[in-house]
């Protein structure tokens, strides 16, 4: 009799807690480039990564109902802002994920703060997101221009590349990347000889490359991304710039770019990323699952960042049993981060996600075993070294 009532009580409690849990339902909006030059490195792949996060977290079993919606911001700040406002105001979106293209990310950052929601950025690079434009509602997850500059820029200067000329994509991201890299170059005793701002997106970079060539700088820093980087590297090879002794620094090169360039053209390129699919058993297993859902294409670090970021958000929702942005955000900053892709880390006060960054070199065609086998790791940058120190960011809500 006693046993029976215990069982009943237990069942009742489970039922109650079940219904209590089920009350948390969150809506996630994945906002990125689904048709333009960043579509391969974010796009549908980021949505797949988000779905995988929900699946792996077993959200339904934990009583959290997750809806994922997505949209194309076309790399235009006005389009991105309109979608973000509509999502927050009418569609009940709680958290916006991804948002590559820094100019769009900065706009969404502002709107999210205004509406007091949560923005977990994976795709954009501008370090301003946790610096001059920082917001208590934003987490910058995967990488930033400061870390890229530290990684690739620092390595190039150490290897003797002490004079630089920049090819800079003419928008928020390019400007931030040039600024952060120039700072690292000068700090390490190098000199910046000049820079040219190229219209975004561009196709023909030969004219700008010729100007870079004429500058006689030892290193040509490519402060651009995606299709712009692909075209500049391709054309630099064509104009004999590398053969002439100048080195190219691809300051932001994604694995999808290397895939598009082909190893023949990309070999020897040094680049910085926070995630590579072939790092350990866990990343390989996850990436295999991802590739099956993504037409055989391996994940970029941006897509991996969406997975990892959403996983952490769901953990915070579970722990607080709430989706109140202030409560969840506090929890996200309090809980250490831990997932199979980025390992252990944390979210810093100013919204910077802290994890190690890796310096890779692109393999020669002879070293590669097949498609997507592209990188050799040459160094690990510990998080504290890779990212800008909290005190230097100039974030307004951080007490000095």
């Amino acid at each position: 009799m006693k046993f029976k009532s215990l069982l009943l009580a237990g069942a009742f409690a489970a039922l109650m807690s079940g219904t209590a849990f089920a009350q948390v339902s969150v809506k996630v909006g994945v906002l990125n480039d689904r048709s333009g030059l960043y579509a391969d490195l974010s796009g549908e792949g980021s949505v797949i990564a988000a779905r995988m996060a929900v699946e792996d977290f077993k959200a339904a079993d934990k009583g959290i109902k997750v809806d994922i919606i997505s949209a194309d911001h076309q790399n235009k700040p006005d389009v991105g802002s309109t979608i973000a406002r509509q999502w927050y105001d009418q569609d009940g979106v709680d958290v916006i994920m991804d948002v590559p293209t820094s100019s769009v990310a900065l706009a969404v950052n502002q709107i999210t703060k205004e509406k007091n929601k949560i923005f977990i950025n994976s795709g954009a690079a501008a370090s301003d997101l946790t610096g001059s434009a920082c917001s208590p509602n934003t987490i910058h997850w995967t990488y930033d221009t400061y870390a890229l500059a530290q990684g690739t820029g620092g390595a190039m200067v150490k290897a003797g590349g002490d004079t630089w000329f920049f090819l800079t994509a003419d928008y928020a991201f390019g400007h931030a990347l040039e600024r952060d890299t120039a700072a690292i170059v000068t700090k390490n005793g190098g000199k910046v000889l000049g820079a040219v701002k190229t219209p975004f997106p561009g196709t023909d970079f030969s004219s700008f490359l010729l100007q870079a060539q004429a500058s006689k700088a030892k290193v040509i820093g490519l402060a651009n991304a995606g299709g712009d980087t692909i075209n500049s590297i391709k054309q630099a090879g064509e104009f004999g710039i590398v053969a002439g002794g100048q080195k190219l620094a691809g300051l932001l090169v994604f694995i999808t770019d290397v895939n598009a360039l082909g190893l023949q053209t990309a070999q020897g390129l040094v680049l910085t990323e926070s995630f590579y699919w072939d790092t350990n058993d866990q990343t390989r297993a996850w990436s295999d699952r991802f590739a099956k859902l993504n037409g055989g294409k391996k994940p970029s670090m941006v897509q991996a960042g969406v997975y990892s970021g959403l996983l952490h958000y769901l953990k915070a929702v579970e722990a607080t049993k709430s989706k109140d942005p202030t409560v969840v955000m506090a929890k996200m900053k309090e809980l250490p981060t831990d997932d199979p892709l980025f390992g252990k880390g944390k979210v810093r006060e100013d919204g910077r996600k802290m994890h190690d960054m890796y310096l890779f070199e692109v393999k020669k065609p002879s070293e590669s075993k097949g498609p997507w086998d592209y990188y050799k790791q040459i160094a690990v940058l510990p998080a504290e070294q890779a990212f800008r120190p909290l005190s230097e960011g100039g974030c307004s809500f951080i007490k000095k």
Binding site: L37, G43, V196, K197, P199, K234, E238, G240, A260, G262
Partner: protein
């Protein structure tokens, strides 16, 4: 040594040459548009997508069939030109008697569909295509390093442009074509098969776009958006040159490439807009374009 606005003349030479190279793409593409507009009165917005298809067919030929660059240079325009023939017979023919706007919308829609299909299958970041070994490397001209391939692009497009001009202006076939442009009904009355002429002209215009696409494949990334980025500029070139003017489109193509190239040196930030500024100025002064005739 004198300097022009802080640019040494040697560097300037290099930039002028680069401008010409880019101009050759504008020339060949705007020529195709001009030919099509001249006879069909269709503003062919699919042109960019057909240029992209040209590059993709070259890539497919290499990767699926092992066809090299030279084979692609011949085959790709034929294959893509044939799809043009199909499009003309199936779709454009049905709206031939309607206003320009219908053709524009139809071809624009087609372009979006084609680009979407390619993006779905091949992604947006592009595919690698190497420069053919015969044209790899380059020459040091003293003032600049000229890749052999770029030299080839200028020569190839000049030859194609001039041959097209010659064919249209100086041959019997060209005379039929021009007659059909002036007055299709009367030309047909003389026993010339005008509908066939129209179909072939569209196919030819499209083939020109595909030819430019193959030329572009080794130097720009082969990706589904490559045409969309270019086509707007090319339309501006056509408008500046005067819709339907053959020689006009060739000359404007090269000279605007040149102007754009120089802007990249003096004020790079404006290089994406300079052509449109010129377009506005030209339209204010000569609404029919530099070489166009007012109807």
């Amino acid at each position: 040594m004198f300097e022009l606005l802080g640019i040494p003349p040697q560097a300037l030479f290099g930039q002028v040459l680069l401008g010409l190279i880019n101009g050759s793409f504008y020339a060949i593409l705007s020529l195709g548009l001009a030919v099509i507009f001249g006879l069909l009165n269709i503003i062919n917005f699919t042109h960019g997508a057909q240029y992209m298809m040209g590059a993709f067919v070259a890539w497919m030929g290499l990767n699926y069939l092992g066809l090299n660059y030279w084979a692609a240079l011949v085959l790709s325009p034929i294959v893509v030109g044939f799809t043009g023939v199909v499009i003309e017979r199936l779709l454009l023919k049905r709206i031939a008697h309607l206003d320009h706007l219908y053709g524009l919308l139809l071809t624009f829609g087609l372009a979006l569909i084609v680009q979407g299909l390619f993006r779905n299958s091949y992604g947006s970041s592009g595919l690698p295509y190497q420069i053919p070994p015969q044209l790899a490397g380059g020459h040091n001209l003293g003032f600049m390093f000229l890749p052999n391939y770029r030299g080839w692009v200028v020569i190839a497009s000049l030859v194609v442009c001039l041959a097209t001009w010659f064919m249209i202006e100086k041959t019997k076939l060209g005379a039929y074509l021009r007659a059909a442009t002036e007055n299709p009904t009367l030309t047909q009355a003389f026993g010339i098969n005008v509908p066939l002429l129209v179909t072939l002209t569209y196919g030819f215009g499209v083939a020109l776009a595909a030819f430019a696409g193959v030329l572009a494949a080794p130097i720009y990334s082969v990706n589904p958006n490559m045409g969309a980025d270019l086509i707007i500029v090319v339309f501006a070139v056509v408008v500046i040159g005067g819709m339907g003017s053959i020689l006009g489109s060739i000359i404007t193509g090269f000279s605007l490439g040149l102007i754009e190239g120089l802007t990249k040196v003096f004020y790079p930030e404006a290089s994406a807009t300079v052509i449109f500024i010129i377009m506005v100025l030209v339209l204010l002064v000569k609404p029919a374009g530099l070489f166009g005739r007012t109807a």
